[in-house]
């Protein structure tokens, strides 16, 4: 029972991270119907920029005096960096292909993914890059169960980001414009919504969330690697599909489920095959209920 609760907590932590990545996929897919294969690389880039800034602050010595400021600044800068990266990528590699066949954009996205991960490798080296390890040692002890401070931070931050995103999408005018663009680009253009700006904004928000997830993974596992974006990217996409692609609440739920399944699968079935569970869920969902848990009726051409 104790280990069950421990696994549950680990699952929520991991699920929150997947949910953050999945949001980027689902938002972009909702707006321009493209699987943004480069999204996993935004996540990896976020992890790298986070470690760059954290170690820069550590080198300056601010880390001991103002740890909270340094952490906040690192998160904010990494998220901004990835948003900046995503906007550029969108303008260069996706925007000219919006009217072409879907395959062209998909392959362009694959190209961007390969390009970015190799760019990270060339600038940052082939080996793992370690996060400053003295952060967040220890945790709350409840008998046998331990909740690390870091897990608390990850869950809280994830929750805060998800709430903020929900507010942005469902309560503000920008969010309304985003939803309008996702529904019908021509009509929204007629009511003076600049769909190009909205699409860029969607990419930026998605990439920012992925960057936050990247730093969290870096803090949680202690290091980042240039090719770390691939597997979490695919799993997060599975999460987005599970929740119903294009649906923001669904992506959050899907991320949590995928994270739980992975942790429980690794704990109770087999640790070696933990990466397989997400794919099996993906295939199962697409086979039995292609619209996902929360998905609306989607037309025939999408599936």
């Amino acid at each position: 029972m104790d280990s069950f609760i421990q696994q549950l907590i680990n699952g929520i932590t991991l699920g929150g991270i997947y949910a953050l990545i999945a949001l980027g996929y689902t938002m972009v897919y909702g707006v321009i119907q493209l699987i943004n294969f480069a999204h996993g690389e935004f996540f990896a880039a976020g992890g790298y920029v986070g470690v760059i800034f954290l170690s820069f602050f550590t080198g300056l010595g601010y880390m001991e005096t103002h740890p909270i400021f340094c952490l906040t600044a690192s998160f904010a800068l990494a998220m901004m960096y990835c948003a900046y990266l995503a906007i550029g990528v969108e303008k260069i590699a996706y925007k000219p292909l919006r009217k072409e066949a879907r395959l062209a954009a998909l392959l362009s996205a694959l190209g961007v993914s390969i390009f970015l991960s190799n760019g990270l490798m060339l600038t940052q080296g082939v080996y793992d890059k370690a996060y400053p390890s003295e952060l967040f040692q220890g945790g709350f002890n409840f008998g046998i169960i331990t909740i690390g401070y870091l897990q608390v931070l990850i869950v809280c931050l994830t929750g805060a980001l998800l709430v903020a995103l929900n507010l942005l999408v469902f309560k503000t005018k920008i969010g309304m414009a985003m939803r309008a663009t996702a529904q019908d680009k021509t009509m929204s253009a007629l009511v003076a919504i600049g769909s190009n700006n909205i699409i860029s904004l969607t990419f930026a928000i998605g990439a920012g969330l992925a960057a936050a997830a990247g730093i969290m993974v870096g803090l949680y596992y202690g290091s980042v690697r240039y090719d770390m974006g691939f597997l979490p990217g695919i799993k997060a996409f599975s999460a987005a599909v599970l929740g119903g692609i294009g649906n923001i609440t669904g992506a959050m739920l899907g991320g949590l489920i995928i994270g739980m399944v992975e942790i429980f699968g690794a704990g109770y079935i087999s640790g070696e095959y933990k990466d397989v569970f997400a794919f099996i869920i993906l295939i199962g969902v697409l086979y039995f209920k292609p619209t996902g848990i929360m998905g609306e009726n989607i037309d025939d051409t999408r599936v």
Binding site: F53, G61, D275, F279, I283, L286, T301
Partner: protein, 406 residues
């Protein structure tokens, strides 16, 4: 015109500044708390000068000032293609064949090795062509069938001592079964979803190969796979046969050549057969195809199985040549590689795919010194290719014929 160029220049300048802003945090912020600009600026200036030259060439070319240079080239190539078209096709076909046959005699060990790679990838690419080019089902896990074929031969050979010629059809069969297993549940999906599910299947196969220690020996791979054995007649004391183990690379080259030629013939036949037409109908509009009486379920499954069989055959030959298989050879990146060969050459033309394979295997070998930049350039090429020529180097022939008529 001038207005247009001004706009392009502005976009170029913005893109370069964007790149500078992207590079600096990665290169200029150091863990010891110092900032530097020199390295970033140097790298950026290299990129700037490189892209600037390409850009100037592009602008001059698009404004037509290069006509004095390109016109003769275009003219001669047109004349050449007319000549080829007027010639009976067996002449250039046999010329190509003779060239392929004498190739290993004229060149050394290393070019032959590269050529074997090209031939194996031609089989893989044509297998994918049946799935993606003809039937329009985007498959991002095609390398898994190659892996299934290779592992079938390796396991049967090392564990049970079965020879190549028995394993070869079995490798095709097991890849075919794998293809049906993948194909069956995915037939309901289209487009992007299919791509991601096939990607998932490819990863599942790799993870299983990596973790099933008792069968596949995990990440260490299987060592000591025997090569191909041929019964050779010997004329001592009457006619007897002895087993001759193929060790020379040239003979492997001929095996790969035969396999590639058989694959090309088979795929060409499929292309112009009833099956090919049915698959193309499915690609263009599945609902309409079904209305016209095409059994879409059957044909899609058939396409998957056929694509997998070609990959399985190539996999068995790959295992026999390398004498070693490991999951490392069957990663997602290889699938992307095969797919980009097919796309680079033009999604639905067989000569185009062969050209794409040659380009993507030979060019990296030529620029071997720039090894670490290889994948970077590969990704960039994919983007640029999609931006400027999304239909590939050689567009499909049948489509062209249709356009000329109308």
């Amino acid at each position: 015109m001038i207005q247009e160029f001004k706009k392009i220049w502005k976009q170029y300048a913005i893109a370069m500044l964007w790149l500078l802003g992207l590079l600096w945090p990665l290169l200029g912020i150091h863990p010891d708390g110092t900032l530097s600009f020199k390295q970033t600026i140097t790298v950026w200036l290299y990129i700037l000068s490189g892209t600037f030259i390409c850009f100037i060439i592009y602008i001059i070319n698009s404004s037509g000032n290069f006509k004095f240079f390109t016109k003769p080239i275009v003219n001669t190539s047109q004349k050449l293609s007319e000549m080829v078209q007027n010639m009976p096709s067996w002449i250039w076909k046999s010329a190509l064949l003779i060239g392929a046959v004498i190739y290993p005699i004229l060149t050394g060990r290393y070019p032959t090795d590269v050529a074997i790679n090209v031939l194996l990838y031609i089989c893989l690419g044509l297998g994918l062509y049946v799935v993606a080019g003809l039937a329009g089902m985007l498959d991002l896990g095609h390398i898994a069938f190659y892996g299934v074929g290779a592992y079938t031969y390796a396991i049967l050979n090392v564990k049970y001592g079965v020879g190549f010629w028995v394993c070869f059809p079995l490798a095709g069969l097991s890849a075919c079964i794998a293809g049906c297993i993948v194909g069956y549940p995915t037939l309901r999906m289209r487009g992007d979803y299919l791509a991601i599910v096939t990607l998932g299947f490819g990863e599942i196969v790799r993870i299983i190969l990596n973790n099933w220690m008792s069968l596949t020996n995990g990440p260490n791979g299987i060592l000591g796979v025997k090569t191909i054995g041929i019964l050779r007649p010997v004329m001592e004391n009457g006619l007897t046969f002895e087993i001759f183990w193929v060790k020379k690379l040239e003979i492997f080259y001929y095996f790969a050549l035969v396999l590639a030629i058989l694959t090309i013939i088979a795929v060409t036949r499929i292309n112009f057969s009833r099956i090919g037409r049915a698959l193309e109908a499915i690609r263009e509009d599945e609902t309409a195809a079904e209305l016209m009486g095409v059994n879409t379920f059957y044909y899609k499954l058939l396409a998957y199985a056929m694509g997998a069989v070609f990959a399985g055959f190539a996999g068995a030959l790959f295992a026999a040549r390398m004498k070693f298989v490991s999951p490392e050879s069957f990663t997602f990146l290889e699938s992307v590689m095969v797919l980009s060969m097919v796309v680079l050459g033009g999604m639905s033309s067989i000569p185009g795919i062969i050209l794409g394979v040659i380009a993507l295997i030979v060019l990296p070998e030529v620029f071997r010194e720039l090894e670490s930049y290889r994948m970077l350039v590969f990704g960039l090429t994919m983007i640029i290719m999609m931006l400027f020529r999304p239909s590939g180097l050689i567009a499909a022939k049948r489509k062209k014929m249709m356009e000329n008529k109308s």
